[in-house]
């Protein structure tokens, strides 16, 4: 598998001080008039090599107009009114320096002074607010793609006059869904129509998120979203969380681009990995007793036996039974319950969790090998997987 070449992908992102003249060049009206499929090809006219695969190379009127604009800039000083018809979809980058909100956000996230305010302002522009890839956070978010939770922001309707310190997205327009951790297949309308998503394997294949969940949107209508890998429509269930997540990814991307990998790792560790998440509460078992029996059979343990360890108030309104599960002389798990059956189920769940939720301790991550004279990466042991499917 080829390694992702982030430096080449994101070289244009380092040009944080976007010149106003370049900003004025943006054909905001053109981007609305051209068809969706050739949007990237017509807008990526900058000199930087673009890594995005163009969906269409169909001829569009945009390049001709771009040349006109460039000529105009070289001839003399064009006024903003000359070059653009109508307001910009997102605040001008030059306004970033004067936004108190942005400066405060920069300080609140303890970002390095190497990261300019303009970059932070760009990280706050969701692709739904501004489709131009040089002015939204799609590329930054792709660089900093990492699971995270939003820090703070407000969702205003996007526009030129909006404070650049606010997150800008449009809930009624399509946006870019970043790839989350793990492999997630883009859920298409067709597959959603025909598959019911039964079984973990099926859900790994068809699920739209790592939890294997798919289905119709809860509150908002569905939007068709263009994706580089899959030209078919993606479900976009909630625009707001997606915009928040894109901002967080873009900030991580900005830290990576301006301060390097170590700073980005530190940032992720201090802001995200230190959050508390109880892994034992992430599971729901349907047939724990059966699963435990199969587990013991697979591992060549003796068959599990449930024993009543202690009880009180059997004839009362609130009895308590403590059930332990034994495999031979080894106790696998134990749990109290108000009746024998539920105590048995709870004990089985405890036994399964204590088997699966072992922690290998501090293990390395693949990026450790990026340093000089690092040892070859040895992946941590991952057990065989589920027993019953």
């Amino acid at each position: 598998m080829k390694r992702l070449r982030l430096d080449r992908l994101a070289s244009q992102l380092l040009a944080a001080q976007t010149s106003p003249a370049a900003r004025l060049l943006r054909p905001s009206t053109i981007s609305r008039s051209i068809p969706q499929t050739c949007r990237h090809s017509s807008l990526d006219y900058n000199s930087q090599p673009c890594q995005r695969r163009h969906q269409s190379t169909a001829a569009s009127p945009a390049p001709v107009e771009e040349e006109d604009h460039v000529a105009e800039v070289e001839d003399g000083e064009p006024t903003p009114e000359d070059l653009r018809n109508g307001p910009l979809p997102s605040p001008h980058p030059s306004r970033a320096a004067s936004s108190a909100k942005l400066a405060a956000l920069h300080a609140r996230l303890s970002l390095s002074s190497k990261i300019p305010l303009e970059t932070l302002a760009r990280a706050l522009v969701d692709p739904s607010a501004d489709a131009h890839p040089k002015y939204n956070n799609a590329n930054l978010a792709y660089v900093g793609s990492t699971p995270a939770h939003g820090v703070s922001s407000q969702p205003p309707p996007p526009g030129e006059e909006v404070d650049p310190g606010l997150l800008q997205y449009d809930p009624l327009k399509p946006t870019v869904v970043m790839n989350k951790w793990g492999y997630v297949r883009a859920n298409t309308f067709e597959s959603a129509k025909y598959q019911s998503g039964k079984g973990l394997s099926g859900r790994v294949v068809y699920g739209s998120n790592p939890f294997g969940e798919s289905g119709p949107a809860k509150s908002l209508p569905d939007f068709e979203v263009e994706n580089d890998r899959n030209t078919k429509a993606l479900y976009l269930q909630d625009a707001a969380p997606n915009a928040y997540a894109n901002f967080v990814r873009a900030v991580v991307g900005a830290v990576y681009m301006h301060c390097g990998r170590d700073a980005a790792k530190n940032f992720v560790r201090s802001h995200f990995l230190t959050r508390t998440l109880d892994l034992s509460k992430l599971f729901e078992f349907k047939l724990p007793t059966r699963e435990l029996a199969r587990l013991c059979a697979r591992e060549d343990f003796e068959a599990p036996v449930a024993r009543l360890e202690s009880e009180t108030g059997r004839a009362s309104r609130t009895p308590v039974f403590v059930v332990g599960i034994y495999s031979g002389n080894d106790k696998l798990g134990e749990a109290p319950g108000p009746d024998l059956d539920s105590a048995l189920v709870a004990a089985s769940i405890n036994a399964l969790k204590s088997w699966y939720l072992y922690s290998p301790g501090q293990v390395g991550v693949p990026s450790d090998t990026f340093t000089e004279d690092a040892a070859a990466w040895k992946p941590a042991y991952v057990d065989i997987g589920e027993i019953i499917s």
């Binding site: 108190a100 300080a107 309707p157 526009g159 006059e161 404070d163 606010l166």
Partner: protein
């Protein structure tokens, strides 16, 4: 509300000029003409005559003595065309006519009216003031000081230097009575010539001017009818004044202003050139030109606390995390910062609501203050 007259005639000083005998006809229509006219009072008003007075308001009873009228009839030339550039004199409304008292009437047939019906209404001005003809632009008051004060310290310094030099020239030439007279604004050449004169100050503060004093003194005296403020006169630019300041030495600032007439002349002239009025309580403590400069060059006090922050607290405003607004931040500003305003505006337009989202009816008090019913 009826507008009141913006300026009053100086009492006992009529506006007509005896220097212009052809204007007698106009003067005659005005009340209590007096031959004693001081030119200096005239120049504060634009001196253009009104074209005509409404016939209904011309007081024929107290009009011209017959002899004078005859004399005027002989000269039927329309003389106003001869002085087209001359500014018009402000004309106040005519005196109201007064009805004769019943007990002074000798006519036996006279019977007092029992009802008001059919009687002519006299004694008021009608809507004389409502006629825009009576408010000509040119009849506005022209003051001694320019309308806009000069604020650049360098220009103030140049003006003080010029005033001091001129006052000293007049003094040195022995024309002490001119120190309190009216000086014309003159042109740029004169301005530069005055500044080019040498000014030597000895240790006591006594200053002497060297150079061509005579020509400066001659140009100084204002011609008859010359306005105190001449719009044609242009001050030097700040850069020019700065260049002058760098060339000249600063010893002249020690010149004494203890002599009352010179001090008066200097302060009057500075007032005419820059528009700065030295307050009375500061007058006593000004002893030298330097002291006068210190009084004048002080920047104006900010009117509000917001202005004070804007001008003096740059260290606070320039902080990146501080957003300062000198005006109240309204609901509309917040909506604009959040991008909602354009949506609200569009909805208002869709419903054809003219006022817009921020239209709030003005307070009733505001209406009362403005004198509306």
């Amino acid at each position: 509300m009826r507008r009141i007259a913006r300026l009053r005639k100086p009492s006992g000083a009529p506006l007509a000029s005896i220097a212009r005998p052809l204007c007698i006809q106009r003067a005659a229509t005005r009340p209590s003409p007096s031959p004693a006219v001081q030119i200096n009072t005239v120049r504060f008003y634009s001196s253009r005559q009104p074209e005509t007075l409404p016939a209904s308001l011309a007081d024929s009873k107290r009009a011209v003595p017959e002899v004078l009228e005859d004399a005027v009839e002989g000269t039927e030339v329309q003389e106003y065309d001869l002085h087209p550039a001359e500014p018009r004199v402000f004309v106040p409304p005519p005196r109201p006519s007064v009805a004769e008292r019943a007990d002074t009437i000798t006519d036996n047939l006279y019977t007092p009216a029992s009802t008001a019906e059919g009687l002519e209404s006299i004694g008021n001005l009608g809507n004389w003031w409502d006629d825009p003809e009576h408010w000509p632009e040119t009849s506005d008051f022209v003051g001694f000081t320019p309308k806009q004060k000069v604020q650049e310290p360098v220009l103030i310094e140049a003006a003080v230097r010029r005033a001091l030099t001129e006052a000293l020239v007049v003094k040195q030439l022995g024309k002490d009575d001119q120190l309190t007279g009216h000086w014309g604004m003159q042109d740029r050449a004169q301005h530069d010539a005055v500044l080019a004169l040498g000014l030597k100050v000895d240790s006591d503060g006594k200053a002497t001017v060297t150079g061509n004093l005579q020509s400066v003194a001659e140009g100084l005296v204002a011609k008859d009818g010359e306005a105190a403020v001449d719009s044609a006169f242009a001050l030097p630019s700040a850069a020019e004044a700065l260049a002058w300041k760098q060339q000249s030495d600063h010893s002249w600032k020690g010149a004494s202003l203890l002599e009352a007439r010179v001090k008066f002349a200097v302060i009057k002239r500075v007032m005419q050139l820059t528009g700065h009025v030295v307050p009375d309580q500061k007058l006593a403590e000004i002893a030298t030109a330097r002291g006068l400069l210190a009084t004048l060059q002080k920047p104006p006090k900010p009117k509000t606390f917001s202005q004070e922050i804007e001008t003096k607290k740059q260290d606070l405003i320039s902080l990146p995390n501080v957003a300062f607004s000198p005006k109240r931040v309204t609901r509309g500003h917040k909506d604009m910062a959040l991008g909602r305003f354009k949506l609200i505006e569009a909805e208002f337009k869709k419903r054809d609501l003219q006022g817009g989202p921020l239209s709030v009816p003005k307070s009733r008090e505001m209406k009362h203050w403005k004198g509306d019913a």
